[in-house]
Symmetry: C2
């Protein structure tokens, strides 16, 4: 099977199934480039993320999960912008053609694509060490996007869902933690099959003053909001939302401490002014999604964390760094 | 230097220099995603290409040339669509942080970006084996794009510039050919610093019936036009345009034979109806670019090549395959 047959078999067929008149695809896979029809009155939102085997996921990860995760982490960037997912491309580097692997990988990739209504419009397949680079294209109504720089003094800091789970899931895959049954399954899925908070991002796009997704860790990512907004952020350790499976694994206190610097949860951290805060319960009830008030934006720089007694716990957690 | 400082130092500064009010960049590098302003009355054109060290270029390639080439080969896809380059993202996987390498790489990348007026709007830097995945975004006036599928029976087949040079340049880098002086320099540059035919693509967008860029080899790439257009293509071997430096290296006959299946030249192969053919001299004189009539579209399937005496030379050249 050569490269052209490979692309056709695993990717173009599914693309054809997915494309429809509402897809905005004037010309899809199979030419030198895709031609897309932007929506009138919308801006185009573009993000790219690369996953390297052994760096961003363990080498024993399943092909299905790798497919899902490579798209999901990119969708999370669109969520943090308040954008609607539209189209994506895939640059796939694989050591060799393994039909079972490709079958499972494409099932995971297109499973995620279908759930979030985003269409594959192009790609490139090369031989080399397993590396996946996905670029997503979304749309926002003109000017209606979330940034990292819009937080104001006195804004509350919020977080969707729970954090720390993905770090535990990775630890289980690497045999650093042991867990069984539904606890194990939940934590593994939180690492390998993160849920991009697209709906939350859309709902927050007219409500939040700033937003970011948690990929490198809460303190590091909130630090980006603080820096871009020329403020500091003060977190309360006992408000950090951790899940029951994580508490069972680590105890609540340890879970909250580790969750400060754990990455890969892909929840949305956002800031909201006091005038708009009252709208949050209605929004999140409709989304059926947990959310927590975890701190406040203050003058100054950096991110500080207060313990239950009001003393500063840490201001040095820096999150995941790809190089050090 | 951590990842954030790395990105800032080598890429964001130059991005800031390059961005201007006409750039269409509402929000650039430094948030979760870039926000771009599409041009009214235009469609969006998207392509992605990955270059793996040791696969798509020899490991002894210079960092400057790698930077140039990684963008140029993607721009070539926009050229083949007749699109105007606008924005690009870079997914850069590098084994470690080498400041000299990054300095030279970014100089090559932005040198090419400046020449073709395209702006970096986002990226991702990861640790791993040297791999570069570039996605380019261009624009075409609504409906005014070139495809592979528009060739008609009787259309002439044309080619910009010369082909086969890049194959020889790669051979020199790999010590399979020897050349010196300006001949060596010319052939090396034709491999490592290909010229995307953006201006030609734009000029052809209302003239050509079909187009493709030569990345995998003339016979393979013209085969895509033939297949997509449900026709065959007949080439004349003695019309294949080869450069003087290549003729000096190989003799004309051998050069033309090898050029049939040699990839990486990034010239544009296009088809034109007899009614529009007469416009070509004026167009290419303005572009100051060589072009050659090399064959004709016929009923049937596949690509055949006729020698000087009219006998069929080959119909089995299949071009470069990433896997076999």
């Amino acid at each position: 099977m050569n490269e052209f047959e490979l692309i056709h078999h695993y990717f173009k067929q599914r693309y054809s199934d997915a494309a429809g008149s509402a897809s905005g695809i004037s010309l899809g896979i199979g030419d030198d480039a895709a031609v897309l029809q932007p929506t009138l009155g919308c801006q185009t939102v573009v993000a790219v993320d690369t996953l390297v085997s052994g760096v961003h996921f363990p080498e024993n990860a399943s092909a299905y999960d790798i497919g899902w995760r490579s798209l999901a982490v990119n969708l999370s960037d669109l969520a943090a912008m308040g954008a609607v997912p539209r189209w994506f491309t895939l640059a796939l580097t694989i050591p060799s053609i393994n039909k079972d692997w490709l079958q499972a990988f494409s099932a995971g990739l297109f499973g995620c694509a279908q759930d979030y209504n985003i269409k594959l419009v192009g790609g490139d397949t090369t031989a080399g060490p397993l590396t996946l680079s996905v670029q997503v294209v979304g749309e926002v109504a003109d000017g209606n996007y979330l940034t990292r720089s819009g937080a104001r003094e006195g804004d509350s800091v919020y977080l969707t869902g729970h954090i720390g789970d993905a770090m535990a899931g990775l630890g289980i895959m690497q045999n650093r933690y042991s867990a069984g049954g539904t606890q194990r399954e939940y934590l593994l899925n939180r690492f390998m099959k993160p849920t991009p908070r697209i709906e939350a991002g859309l709902a927050l796009s007219r409500l939040a003053s700033a937003a970011i997704d948690i990929s490198d860790g809460l303190v590091a990512d909130l630090g980006h909001i603080a820096k871009a907004s020329q403020l500091s952020a003060q977190l309360q350790l006992d408000k950090i939302p951790v899940s029951n499976p994580l508490i069972e694994l680590l105890s609540r206190g340890t879970a909250q401490q580790l969750a400060l610097s754990a990455g890969d949860d892909y929840e949305i951290c956002f800031t909201v002014s006091s005038e708009k805060e009252q709208q949050l319960p209605g929004v999140f009830e409709k989304l059926q999604l947990n959310y927590s008030r975890i701190g406040e934006m203050k003058p100054g720089t950096g991110v500080s964390v207060l313990g239950e007694n009001g003393t500063q716990v840490s201001d040095r957690s820096t999150g995941y760094q790809h190089f050090s």
